[in-house]
């Protein structure tokens, strides 16, 4: 499973609590209220555990968490 799909599944299952929710890779996760403070922290924990990528604190910013695409791009840059 690629990262985008894994991230989408995690957000739908664990954060939106609706596997059938419509979620596009460019949807604004913050403005749409999909990610709140705790959800971002959960997502960081998921990324670190599942992908083995440490997300430095200074990278936990709007630009990297705005959408699934932005997040996947950020993670691709940290391989």
């Amino acid at each position: 499973m690629d990262r985008k799909t894994a991230l989408t599944q995690f957000i739908k299952q664990e954060i939106m609590r609706n596997p059938n929710a419509k979620l596009q890779e460019n949807d604004d996760l913050l403005s749409a209220g999909i990610l709140d403070s705790l959800a971002i922290l959960q997502l960081v924990a998921y990324i670190e555990e599942s992908f083995g990528i440490k997300v430095p604190d200074e990278d936990v910013v709007f630009e990297n968490f705005q959408s699934i695409r932005a997040l996947a791009q950020y993670l691709d840059g940290h391989n």
Binding site: L41, A45, D57
Partner: protein, 369 residues
């Protein structure tokens, strides 16, 4: 640090349950005494007992919890602003406020419904006032206050981004002044010169806790610099945490004596403010210290808003059932308190799990945020 904040959130919500359990402990000790002793109530014979100080030590320890929630919320606003934008978007703020308020209104209705079923009627304006001031239960003042801070944040983020140090200093001084003002309320001092501004210390107003939210935003924008500074002074913060904690216990006894009353409702004092500041700074500074039960407490942290909304009801039910069916337990705080802690945590978690694992799951956000 991001993951540690989830842990801090978990610790803070556990503390909130402890805090409200101690409130029921004091009720059992002083107002429900006639259920297990042949006395009239209120009865303050147990003031100064080992059980009393046990509860006071817990109550004093958990003081940093609301500051911790506000700090984390402020941090998140900084995250949502990002590096390149001048301030956070209004669309984000409105969505955040909506997600806070819908479950809040629902739980306020649930908590008021026993009164309503007992024949009390609520007019629209009264209901609105209850919502705006968080009066449905003691814990709810926090939600109108957090909402105000979110709504104000787009206005003061540009300032915090540019001049964090000055803003923190200004807000810190303001918070100290609010702390000083609070002593007049604790001691019922009527100073005409302060009467026009005493409303600023109402618990549901942002003015009483603006520092912690601002601190969180500033930390979000300047994490690396602030972490280095806090690390340098870590032992000072450790010492400060211990000293202000103990000082807070003695201070409250002194204030109680000074007031000439049998009992004072819990209020944060200036010493508590310094204790919370030292504790949060210490938490940030001790970044490399391994935290116990990290996964479990972080999982609890992830459900903190749902627990916050529903724990008051769980505690109330547990305390009242004990009052009616096992009043002897009210006399034994080492039994009564753990009972309340377990019900206050497990009750909400069961409710959350039921909603989360049933067809109701799609309504989870509406019920628990």
């Amino acid at each position: 640090m991001a993951r540690r904040l989830l842990y801090l959130n978990g610790v803070a919500i556990l503390n909130v349950i402890l805090y409200h359990a101690t409130a029921w402990g004091f009720i059992a000790m002083f107002w429900w005494t006639d259920r297990y002793r042949d006395v009239s109530t209120p009865n303050f014979d147990q003031m100064g007992s080992a059980a009393y100080y046990g509860l006071r030590l817990i109550e004093q320890y958990v003081i940093y919890s609301i500051p911790a929630f506000l700090f984390i919320s402020g941090f998140f606003v900084a995250v949502a602003t990002g590096r390149n934008r001048e301030t956070v978007g209004w669309d984000f703020i409105f969505t955040r406020v909506k997600n806070l308020l819908i479950p809040y209104v629902l739980w306020s209705i649930i908590l008021l419904s026993p009164d309503w079923l007992n024949g009390r009627s609520f007019g629209f304006w009264e209901f609105l006032e209850i919502l705006l001031t968080g009066r449905a239960t003691n814990a709810f003042y926090f939600i109108p206050m957090l909402t105000q801070l979110y709504l104000l944040s787009p206005l003061f983020i540009p300032l915090i981004k540019k001049k964090s140090g000055s803003v923190l200093l200004f807000v810190g001084i303001f918070q100290v002044l609010m702390g000083l003002l609070r002593y007049t309320a604790i001691l019922d001092l009527e100073l005409p010169i302060l009467s026009s501004i005493s409303f600023l210390n109402r618990s549901f107003l942002f003015t009483g806790n603006i520092f912690w939210f601002t601190f969180g935003i500033a930390f979000g924008f300047h994490q690396q610099e602030m972490r280095k500074i806090f690390y340098r002074f870590r032992w000072l913060f450790l010492g400060g945490s211990i000293i202000f904690y103990l000082l807070g216990v003695f201070e409250w006894e002194y204030l109680l004596q000074l007031s000439g009353k049998h009992w004072l409702g819990s209020r944060e004092t200036l010493v508590d403010l310094f204790y919370a500041a030292c504790f949060l700074a210490l938490f940030i500074a001790m970044e490399n210290v391994k935290l116990p039960f990290q996964k479990t407490i972080s999982q609890i942290g992830a459900r903190s808003y749902g627990i916050y909304l529903s724990h008051s009801l769980a505690l109330m039910v547990a305390a009242r059932l004990t009052y009616h069916f096992a009043p002897q337990i009210l006399a034994i705080q080492w039994l009564f308190q753990p009972l309340l802690w377990v019900v206050g945590l497990v009750g909400p978690l069961i409710l959350i799990t039921i909603v989360d694992r049933s067809p109701l799951r799609r309504y989870y956000a509406l019920v628990f945020g």
